[in-house]
Structure formats: C-alpha cells, structure tokens
C-alpha cells in the first residue's frame, strides 16, 4: 500500500474529542490508484489531505506514506516527504506571483532536486501552456493558473498527488478540462491520486470514491 491511514484522530484547539474533525478515520491507497474524497464543506477533507501531506500533526492513530510512519517524523522529515513521494495541488493554485510560469513549473522539482527539463517541456505541451512560459501568474486565466499548479506538482513525478478541490475556483468547462488533463497525466505516470472534491461528476470519473462524514470514511 502506498498510503495507509489507521484510526486517525484530529481536533483543532477548543474542539472536544467528540466533535473532532477526524474521529478514527481509516484509509488505504494502492500505488497508481485514483481515489475521490467527497464530503460536506467542513467535513474534514482538506484536513485529511493536509495530514497525509505532513502539513499538520494529528492527535492519535497513524499514517504511513510510502512505508514511512508520519508520527515518527519531525518537521524537516515531513518536509522531506513533500520533496519525495508527495506533491500537493491547492484550490488557490498557490503560484508564486513574482515568478514566471516557467519558473513556477520547475519550482517544486528544483526544490526536490529532481528537475527533468524534457519532462517539464512535455508537461508544458500536454497542459497547453506553450508560449506562456515567460508570463507571470497574474497574466493568466484561472484555468491556466491551475494547469500550471498541476504541472508543478506532476513535474516532481510524485508517487502520490494530493489535490484539494483543485478546480473549485474554476467554471465547469475549465474545471473539466483541467481535471481530465491532470488525471490523465497521473494515470500515464502511475501516480496515485487522492482528490478532494464536491463534484459528483469528477468523483465518478475516478477509480474509487470515499465519503467523509462524521469524522470517518466510508
């Protein structure tokens, strides 16, 4: 298994355990598998993704990613995880406004020390970003920006792509286009995907679907 989540508990400051965001969530994700994560707003989808990405700590339980138990890792160790098997795509794109498209695309790969120029070039072409390399994010449309964000994550050839409502800011047409590109590329490269979404259409197009409710997965 690429990812296992066992009896995961997570509460935010001031939350009593019975109202915790995650209350014993369980999950396993095989390599190359694309899984949709659905649930109400505030049900804890983002929290779960953040915990798997090592962006935040949890109260109880265990997460393993690519054989590493997250509870055993300190902050630099978890940061190294995101330069290793894990990449994240956010709803707000999180592009660096002061860097060009080209630089943004290569940023994560460079941080991870695995820049593969021909792969990035191929990604640029596949994502339809040719000719936009010298532009700044603010000069792009929302759909183009999210394609850059997806490309930036895929450029590191992650084993696991965590995507947190990546198209939540886009209209339906743009959303569908970005999503199919992203998932297609993930499938081709054997990247496992855990995608939080509230779009039934998108969720339906994936291998499997998990619903988060009451702090537990079903």
């Amino acid at each position: 298994m690429l990812v296992t989540v066992q009896d995961l508990w997570k509460s935010y400051p001031g939350q009593p355990p019975e109202r915790a965001v995650l209350r014993g969530a369980q999950l396993s994700l095989a390599e190359g598998e694309a899984v949709a994560l659905t649930g109400e707003s505030g049900s804890g989808k983002s929290t779960l993704l953040h915990l798997i990405g090592g962006l935040d700590g949890f109260d109880r339980g265990e997460i393993t990613v690519a054989g590493q138990a997250l509870s055993a890792l300190d902050e630099p160790g978890r940061a190294a995880l995101r330069r290793g098997p894990v990449a994240i795509v956010f709803q707000q794109f999180n592009l660096v406004p002061s860097m060009t498209v080209e630089q943004n695309l290569a940023l994560h790969a460079r941080l991870a020390g695995r820049e593969d120029r021909s792969w990035i070039k191929a990604l640029t072409a596949r994502l339809g970003l040719e000719g936009l390399g010298g532009r700044y994010p603010e000069e792009l449309s929302g759909g183009q920006q999210q394609r850059v964000a997806a490309g930036r994550a895929l450029a590191v050839r992650p084993a696991l792509l965590l995507a947190d409502e990546p198209t939540g800011n886009l209209d339906e047409t743009a959303s569908a286009a970005v999503m199919s590109l992203m998932l297609g590329l993930a499938r081709e490269t054997g990247t496992a995907v855990l995608l939080a979404t509230h779009s039934e259409t998108i969720a339906a197009g994936l291998d499997r679907r998990l619903h988060l409710s009451g702090g537990q997965l079903a």
């Binding site: 902050e75 999180n94 660096v96 800011n169």
Partner: protein, 802 residues
C-alpha cells in the same frame, strides 16, 4: 533545494525593485548619518591622538600636582629620592601669532618626540633648543606666523606637531610663560628603581597619573562628541523605522510564498535561515551604501566641525577625512545589528508561521486599538525608565532621559492618533467624511511607524532649534554685558601701553588694564583674570549671584568672582572659600556667566593678580570712550602710535567673532536635525507606497459608488496631511520638553551652564510647513498613480476578488 528556494524568495524583489530600493535606501540613510557622525568623531579623536603622540609620551605615567604647579623643589626632592623624571612646563602662550599651546620639555631627558629629534638643514634641533636665545618649533602654518623677533627665540618648522602647538626647551617655556620654574607635570621615565618612596611622603599634593590618562583635548571635547553621537543614534533610529516597515511589508507580501515553499517541502528552519541570510545581505548592501554616503556627508560637515573644535576648545582637528577601519566597521556593525533588530519581528513571525493558515490576512491591518494600547503602555514604561535615569544625574543620565521620553512618546503615538481619529469620525456628518476618518483609522497601523519617525524628527528639530535659539538670545545679551568696552588694544610692550593709556585718558576715555594668566586647578586649566576696580565692571559684568559689596572685596584682594561652569564643576557657591593657587585663599563673592568657554575662569582684583604674578605683561587694555574722545578711536590711535590693525579690536568685531564661533557650534546640530526630518519624510513615502497594493481594493468600492479617481487621490493626499498635522500637534509639546531637558539638564552637565528657555513660534510654523510639504510630497506619488490609474485596474479588483 536552498538555491531554488532562495531564487523564489528573491524573485519578490525583482518584481518589486522600488520596494527593494526603499529598503536599501532606508538602511543606507540610517547608516549614513550614523557613519557620518562616527567618522567625524573618529577623525577628531585621531587628531587628538596624533596631537598627544606628538606632544606627550602617552605610554608613560605622569605626575601632576593638585595645586596645579609642581614646585621646582618638589622635582629636585623626587629626583634625589630616586625618581627618574623628565620635567615639562606647558601652557597657553600669547604669541605674536595669537594664543598657542607652548610645550616646554627637557630635551635631554624627555622620551623621544619627533619634533625635537628631527634635523633641519643638516642641523640638530638640540643646540638651538638649549641655546640662550631659544628655539621655538612650530607646525608649518604657525611657524610662518611666528615671525622671528630680533631678540626672541629662533623659529623652526616641524610637520610633526599638531596645529597650534609650539615645542621648545623647558627654560624657554619657563621664561615665556613666567613660571618661575614651576612645572606643569613630570613624565615618569621607564626603568624606575624597585623601591621608591611614595610620592605623597616626599611632597604632599602630588598625584601619579597612570599611563594614557589625559587632560588633553579629549576631556574638554567629550561632551561635544557625545552630543554628535546622540544625534547620530537618533537618525539611525529614525532610519530603522523605514527598514522595519519595508521588511515587515515584504514578509507580509510573501506570506503566501512562504507557505507554498513549505508545502513543497522546504523545512521551516531552511526558510528562516534563507530569510535571515537575505536580510543580512541587504544589510550589507544598505550598510555599505550608507557608509559611502556617510563618508560624503562627513566630508561636507568636517570643516564646520573642525572650526568648532578649534574655535571653542582649541582642539586640533584636521580638515581631511580618512577612511578608518573603526567607523567603517562600526557602521557595518550598526547596519547589521539595526537590520536584525528591525527585521526581528518579521523573522519571528515567519518562524512561527503555521504552514496552514487562512491566507491573505495582514497582520498589520489587523493591528487594533488593543495593540495601540499595548504600545502606549510600553511607551509609558520607556518614559518612566528614562525619568528614572535622570535621578542619578550626569550627562549619560540626561541623554537616557531624552531617549526614554522620545521613545515613550513615539510609542504612545498610535493610541493618540487612534483616539483623535475616532473623535473626528464621531463629529463627521457627510458619509464621505465618515468614510475618510474610518479609512484613516484603518490605515493607522500601517502608517504608525512612519509617523513615529516623523514625530521623533519633528520633536528633535523643535527641541534643538529652541535650545539653539534660546542660547543665542542669551548669548547675545551676555556679549553685550561682557564686552562693554568700545575698543580692546594690545600694545607692543608695557611702556607703549602706558603711553597709550595716558594719551587716551587725556582725551576723556577710561582705560582699564586687562591681565590674565592660566593655571591648572585640579587637573583642568583655569583662567585667572585681574580686573581694575571700575564702575564699568560693577554695572555691566554678567553676574548671576553676588554677595553684598562683592566688587569692593574683589578689589581689596580678599574676594574672587568665579564663572558658572567653574562653580558647577567644583560645586562652589557664593560665600565658600577658594584657593586657586598654593597659599592663597579667597571668599567667593559671586558667580557670573561665561558662555562658550570650556575652561574655568575666576576674577581677582588686578593688584592681587599682580602680587601673585608680578611679571605678567601689561600690554592689553580696554577703552571706554567718552564724548570727548576722538572718533573713530582706532583710526586716531593708529595714527598716534602706528599700531597695526590687528592690535586693536573693536567691540563689534569681537562680538561678531564670538557669534560666528557660536553659530558654527550649532550648525552641525541643525544640519543633523534637518537630515533626520528628511529621513522621516522618506519613511512616510515608504509606508504609503507599501500600502499601495492594499489600497486599491479599499478604494475600488468607493469609485464604484461614484467617487471620482481625482477626488480619491485628493482624499489620499488629505489623509497624509491630516496625519502629519496630528503628529505635529503631539511633536510640539514633546519638542519643548526636549528643549527643556537640553537647556536645563544636558547643557549644565555638558558645558557647565544653564540657560533660560525662549519660545520661537515662527520657527515651529516653518518646521510644520516643511513637514507638511514633505508629507504631501510623499503622498503625491501614490495619489498621482491613483489619479492616472486605468479604470480597468479598479474593475479588476472586483474580477479577482474571491
């Protein structure tokens, strides 16, 4: 990893070169003023050190006497007890080229001095020095002026002497200074016997001063340099406000970037280290630029400083500035330290920044009345700490009080402005006016640092100009009292002085002799004047406090009048006894003001002075003309006695010269306070430009509601002016408090005189106009940008809004 992260971090500055420029400039300005002051101080210190090295062996201990002079018998006793000593007679000598420092050494035993050892035209200096006629060795300019009198000592030139210093043999100095053998100090030579009888057992009243201790110019000018340093520090603090503003802004703007980098696997520690490195590099860049700017500034200010030091303290100072490791390193150190201090808050925030937080929330913008209250509390604490520092007294305590007062008030500024704008908002009726005040209040947190800088610089300017102005008024009035005679004459010799006196008295003028000498008192020079018993003194002398019949007792040789700074320095009051010379004792009859004189001064009756110093030249006289006196008096005298022009000084000329020295003293202070104001204006510009990005979303809704861009631009300008006005209102009382401390605490400590305080409303108005101009100028750039902004940008605010 780090390289990629660093490039991402730096890309921010590439996209915002202006912001980068502001940061570096702010840092450069802060460092520049500080460095300029340090360079000036360093130059002066090195001039003193050079002078000391050229005139006294600093590595050797010296023996001095509490009474001032060491009797020749004391020297003989010490020598016979085994002390190995080299005697020195030194003092102020009224030479044909003006008053100079005469240094008389025994060239046979004195440790080597270049000026004594060097050869001129193949001749050793020694025979000349020891000759009956004597030899005066003087620095080039002075040597030329000391044209060799036919029977006087020969003159030799040496570049190895500080300006205004003449080296000669001890016998020649003894003769020229009328010392009757009494010594100024004894150099303790190396290689003393192991067992020496204690100094006090051989001759009471002698003191052994450790090597390096000095009564040279350093002691007299210390307060002047402390003044400069305090101003340099103030400018630096104002400059740091700019740095703090820009660094915090950049941290805010890159908050998203920091999170993205963390999400992509950059560890927190690496991020913090990179940001620290970035800060240090910028500190070096800004500091380096600042040092260069400071060097240039110092070069501009140097002649004024040198003139002040020479005029006020007779301290040697060069006119060329050299690059010195001490102030360059100190400047860089201050830049690095200051940047870290200013950036510490931002760095701390980054360190604690959770990787997941609601993005876009601006820490400053959220700063509320609550944080303003906390700042004000801190300010109050700072002011109280400063007030506590005042209790033990002293110059450092005075400056600490000033620092506490200034910092404390600056920290109270946000709360004061917050309350003022809330009050204004309550009184506003039109919706636009209400928005204006509400918006103003919302902007306060972002602007408060710049406004604090403005407050500080305005208060400093008010304080300094009030002090300088008060001083000048007092000084002018004092000059009128002090220089009551119409003409001051220096005759060629005593006989001519007598002739002139008779000639003048036949023509109805009153002629009063002026005789003075200088004698050390407890290690510092003391001027002793003898005055004739005359109505002019009784009526005009600027006496502060005096006993009854003071002048009668002075004339009778029983009493003495002392200067204010002398009284303060030695805690003397009217009625106490004073023994300025061995075996003398006088009752202090009064204290008079003697502004601008770093030395102590006392007045004796002239018969008493003559009794103590029978050989003093009687060549100087003061002339009080009457109706019967021919006019112009100096012309008539020149004809009758073929006196050179330099031998007669009109009262008006003397006053002019005194005022010129005075004005030079405060030139530097004024220049520095104006430069500080410029830095504050720049801080406002920085803050306003920094706010620019966040302004648009706030202004766009108003534009959409029908307020034109022109009107918005005008309102923005008005906003800046309103804040400046509010700050100015607070700056006035603070400035006056500053002036009070300067006049009543700092001046008595630093110079020994206290001064009455005068008010200069016209000057304040000028300053406020200047401040408003600066604020308007700073606001104009963003306002013009706003006015010229294409509508699409304002629309874009809505399009991008999430």
């Amino acid at each position: 990893m780090r390289r990629a992260a660093l490039l991402a971090l730096l890309s921010h500055w590439r996209r915002r070169p202006l912001q980068f420029l502001l940061l570096v400039t702010g840092l450069a300005l802060a460092t520049a003023l500080w460095t300029a002051v340090q360079a000036l101080n360093s130059e002066a210190r090195s001039a003193y050190a050079r002078a000391s090295a050229q005139t006294r062996p600093l590595e050797l201990p010296q023996i001095t006497a509490e009474a001032g002079y060491i009797p020749i018998e004391a020297y003989a006793r010490l020598a016979r007890e085994g002390w190995r000593l080299s005697p020195v007679i030194e003092g102020r000598w009224r030479s044909p080229a003006g008053t100079v420092q005469l240094l008389g050494i025994d060239p046979l035993t004195h440790p080597p001095l270049a000026a004594a050892a060097e050869r001129q035209e193949g001749q050793d200096r020694l025979p000349g020095l020891l000759s009956e006629r004597g030899l005066l060795v003087a620095p080039p300019g002075l040597a030329a002026a000391l044209s060799s009198a036919p029977m006087g000592p020969e003159i030799a030139v040496s570049a190895e002497l500080p300006p205004g210093t003449v080296l000669t043999d001890i016998a020649t100095a003894d003769r020229l200074l009328n010392r009757n053998g009494a010594l100024s100090r004894l150099v303790v030579l190396p290689g003393q016997p192991d067992t020496l009888p204690a100094l006090r057992r051989i001759w009471p009243g002698l003191a052994l001063n450790a090597a390096g201790s000095s009564t040279g110019p350093e002691a007299l000018t210390a307060s002047f340099h402390l003044n400069l340093t305090a101003f340099g520090l103030l400018s630096f603090a104002v400059g740091l406000f700019i740095v703090h503003g820009t660094v915090s802004l950049a941290a805010e703007q890159r908050r998203g970037l920091f999170r993205t980098l963390r999400a992509m696997g950059l560890p927190q520690r690496s991020l913090s280290a990179l940001l620290l490195g970035e800060l240090l590099v910028m500190a070096l860049a800004g500091g380096g630029t600042g040092i260069l700017l400071g060097y240039l500034t110092a070069q501009v200010l140097l002649p004024g400083v040198s003139a002040t030091l020479a005029g006020l303290f007779s301290a040697p100072a060069g006119n060329s500035l050299s690059l010195r490791a001490d102030w360059i390193l100190a400047g860089l150190g201050m830049a690095l330290g200051g940047t870290l201090l200013a950036g510490s808050q931002a760095l701390w925030q980054v360190w604690r920044l959770p990787v997941l937080a609601a993005p876009g929330a601006l820490a400053w913008a959220r700063a509320s009345a609550g944080s303003a209250r906390r700042l004000a509390a801190a300010g109050l604490a700072a002011a109280l700490a400063g007030a506590a520092a005042l209790l033990p007294g002293g110059l450092a305590g005075g400056f600490a009080f000033l620092g506490g007062l200034l910092l404390g008030t600056a920290l109270c500024l946000p709360l004061a402005l917050h309350l003022a704008t809330r009050l204004a908002a309550r009184r506003a009726h039109s919706p636009l006016a209400q928005w204006f005040w509400a918006d103003l209040r919302a902007q306060l947190p972002g602007l408060s640092l710049a406004l604090m800088a403005l407050l500080l610089s305005l208060a400093t300017s008010i304080g300094v100009s009030t002090m300088a102005g008060s001083f000048r008024l007092t000084f002018t009035a004092w000059l009128d009292q002090r220089l009551a005679a119409d003409l001051y004459i220096t005759a060629r010799n005593d006989a001519q002085a007598q002739e002139i006196r008779l000639w003048l008295e036949q023509r109805g003028a009153a002629v009063l002799p002026i005789r003075s000498t200088e004698s050390p008192f407890r290690g510092a020079p003391l001027e002793i004047y003898g005055v004739a018993d005359h109505q002019n003194y009784r009526e005009n002398w600027p006496v502060l406090t005096a006993a009854q019949d003071a002048w009668d007792r002075v004339a009778a040789g029983q009493g003495v009048l002392i200067s204010e700074q002398f009284a303060r320095r030695h805690s003397l009051t009217t009625g106490k006894m004073l023994s300025p010379l061995p075996e003398t004792s006088y009752r202090i009859e009064g204290i008079y003001s003697d502004y601008g004189n770093p030395k102590g001064q006392i007045i004796l009756g002239i018969t008493e002075l003559d009794r103590l110093f029978p050989a003093l030249p009687a060549t100087r006289v003061a002339v009080y003309a009457s109706a019967a006196t021919p006019q112009p008096l100096d012309g008539a005298l020149r004809e009758a006695f073929s006196l050179p022009g330099s031998a007669m000084i009109r009262q008006s000329g003397l006053k002019e010269r005194a005022l010129a020295v005075f004005d030079r003293t405060f030139l530097i202070t004024r220049a520095l306070s104006l430069l500080t104001l410029a830095v504050a204006g720049f801080a406002i510009l920085t803050s306003l430009l920094g706010q620019w990005d966040r302004r648009l979303p706030q202004l766009a809704p108003l534009w959409a509601l029908g307020v034109s861009r022109g009107k918005l631009a005008r309102l923005d300008l008005l906003r800046s002016l309103a804040l400046t006005s509010l700050t100015s209102l607070l700056a006035l009382p603070l400035g006056l408090a500053l002036a009070w401390v300067l006049l009543k605490v700092i001046n008595p400590e630093a110079f020994g005189w206290s001064l009455p305080m005068h008010m200069f409303p016209k000057g304040w108005m000028q300053l406020f106009i200047l401040a408003h101009l600066a604020a308007a100028l700073a606001a104009a750039i963003p306002a013009i940008r706003l006015f010229r902004l294409p509508a699409s940008h304002l629309l874009g605010v809505f399009a991008h809004e999430n």
